[in-house]
Symmetry: C2
């Protein structure tokens, strides 16, 4: 029998008792930020649950991790504490359990309607890394910019390629994105132009939130990497293609990315996603062609999920048009391989660090994860509804990501990750 | 007449009353970290000076910025507060001023011998960016890896090229550097190898510490950029050339850099360096060939300084050999241009962010800023003393940076930035 909460949850909701994703919110505009979990159309205020002494397990009983303005302390505690919190919260919210269900005054304080709260970044992000883990995305970018001979660079099959991203400009879903200005790639031998980006794009990604970190100089074993991942969010790695194309040789993307990156507010835990995990797809080769290498293993953590899609509400219109449908399992490198590779040189991760997957493009054109690929660098405009087309994003366009794993009678969903483009400041 | 402090300062010292660089230290192993300034062979404990009520100017009188474990709050206050602190401290330390000079009990508490203290990272670094601002370095790297035709990529003369670096692995001078492991660039068509880096290198750099930040979406004008820079440190951007060469296409350096970056403990303020500033060298062209562009101006902040050099104490030996001598004025792009460019897309900087200049190579082979250039990628071993040579760094080697501006009868120096290589962990 499917577990049910005493809070009524619509069958289409992303947030039934099987999910219980973590976020940080303010119940009132002037209240202190605090951690919460989503349940149906409500947010359960964990600072209230903690104050009421209801986290009574050995790990959390005397912890102040839910009286914090972010989740860093909690995610740093590790899987045993996470499991204890999940067990406590599933019991507390279940239809059979009277403790919270029948305590009107606590319910009143602790269950806040989701449409009344302000969501904030769930973690303080010390470092943000973005990978490049979809082979389809890598191939399409290579075809456009380097031609068919060496579309995918030889290193790509050996290492999960990544770059360090900008942590300061990561914003929460719903934050407007100001169109960046910069130098654009000149056509042929002409001079670069300067001004508002002419090729503003989204990138459909997910990102892992790091739990316990590792000490500088001590790599994380790939078989233990999952214990260092608290959960996943949706991520839009907004990209200015003209700025990126001009600047990226030889040191990689910089200002073409650093003007803003949007994450969804709810971190869906690996514990909630576990039932949807599948084995890794067969990778073409052991990355190092050696036995027992640091990155080759019977890895896991591919999600089979449906209903992940991107839609755009064009400026001045009301209706959203779906522009792509993709799937987390379209990644070649797993998030555990990404994390193990990230630390093999001794690099230290810290709780709350963010590891983006890279654009999640699938094999078919309808599953490409960004406008660069969907319009083939602007050559093939995309139809949005009956009379609107886009090559790249226009001011006023709103981009909406969503993603969800379908369980048997319930969803484990990620909610939404949205952002609207506003004009460059003069 | 040259200003003198009541604390005796040797004429060769980097830290006379004209300098007064800021750091964070612990007087005893179990004491709380606190801000200090260097004066001769002493550290002046600013938490003690603040507690004694001696910061009595309007900006600092009621601030707790010197009762913090890092300098982020102080550097975020901006130039007016920095000038006030400098005026207060120069007066307090001057030979003529009795307040501190004649107060034995305060002197006892506030002046700590430098060789007794532990220095810590002076700021919490939210984001770290590394530029590529020496033309000589860019040219040499291009010659080695791309050949003479297009040694310097065309974008280089238009934009200060940079990449986001890893903030978590920035360490204070004196911290051992563990040799990174990773995949190395295969020769020809062979497979990549895996193991401890075979081409471990230093990079002689300086780095700007950001003062007040900017709001996301609001670029900093290049003519106001200096007000956003608190000061400079020496920086060693340790680099594993074999890892870097294999991974950097197309997204830039990642694990070849992220295993450790060392900074010197004392932030030398722009206010102390101002007298050594010169105009920018004539840049070959306005980066955008347009009037009044965002980055072209009568920029300043090239330092004329001498005695900047790198030495290596080879493993098992006692004497250091100088391997290169360079100069900050060998940079093509100024730090104010770097900062303005960094924000032109709206990217937000925060107090304490670090902007590395990139390797400071000069035109002559003796002024190249890293072993990659000095040994031409290992082809020409370098002599260290009579019987020792190096292509790249060996376990046990200690690398020492120093840098100093020579004033009239005094120095404004940066102290040292050191690190010793220790073997990879198995
Ligand atoms: Ca991306
Ligand atoms: Ca560098
Ligand atoms: Mg981005
Ligand atoms: Mg480094
Ligand atoms: Ni100009």
């Amino acid at each position: 029998m499917v577990l049910k909460s005493f809070v009524e949850v619509h069958p289409d909701s992303h947030f039934p008792i099987q999910n219980l994703p973590y976020g940080v919110f303010k119940p009132e505009p002037d209240s202190e930020p605090r951690p919460g979990v989503a349940i149906g159309d409500y947010v359960l205020d964990l600072s209230q649950i903690a104050s009421a002494g209801l986290f009574d397990g050995p790990f959390l009983k005397s912890s102040d991790c839910f009286n914090q303005a972010n989740l860093n302390k909690f995610v740093g505690l590790g899987r045993t504490a996470w499991k204890e919190a999940r067990t406590t919260l599933q019991k507390l919210l279940s239809a059979e359990e009277p403790t919270l269900r029948d305590n009107a005054s606590l319910r009143q304080k602790a269950l806040v309607p989701m449409d009344k709260v302000q969501m904030l970044l769930p973690v303080a992000i010390g470092d943000y890394t973005d990978f490049f883990a979809s082979k389809h995305h890598a191939k399409n970018c290579g075809l456009m910019f380097r031609g068919p001979e060496n579309a995918i660079n030889p290193n790509w099959f050996h290492i999960p390629i990544a770059y360090h991203g900008r942590a300061s400009s990561i914003v929460i879903s719903g934050t407007d994105i100001i169109r960046p200005r910069g130098q654009g790639h000149p056509a042929g031998n002409s001079q670069p132009y300067f001004g508002p980006s002419r090729k503003l794009d989204f990138e459909l990604e997910m990102a892992a939130v790091v739990g316990p970190g590792n000490e500088l100089g001590k790599p994380v074993d790939v078989n233990e990497a999952a214990d260092h991942i608290f959960g996943l969010v949706l991520m839009n790695d907004w990209s200015a293609r003209d700025i990126q194309a001009w600047e990226y040789v030889p040191l990689g993307p910089f200002l073409g990315k650093s003007f803003g990156t949007t994450v969804s507010p709810w971190i869906v835990t690996l514990d909630a996603l576990e039932t949807f995990a599948s084995d890794a797809p067969e990778q073409a080769l052991c990355p190092l062609i050696i036995f027992d290498c640091y990155i080759c293993h019977l890895t896991w953590f591919f999600l089979e999920y449906n209903k992940s899609h991107v839609s755009i509400i064009p400026t001045g219109q009301e209706d959203a048009s779906i522009v792509t449908k993709s799937n987390f399992k379209n990644l070649y490198w797993t998030i555990t391989q990404q994390l193990a590779h990230h630390t093999i040189n001794g690099c230290n991760l810290r709780p709350g660090d963010l590891l983006g997957t890279g654009t999640i493009s699938g094999p078919e054109p309808e599953s490409y994860g960004c406008l660069l690929e969907l319009t083939w660098n602007g050559k093939n405009p995309l139809s949005l509804g009956s009379s609107t087309t886009r090559t790249f994003l226009e001011d006023g366009d709103e981009v909406i990501f969503t993603g969800c794993c379908k369980g048997d009678g319930y969803n484990v969903g990620f909610g939404k990750c949205t952002g609207k483009i506003v004009p460059s400041r003069p």
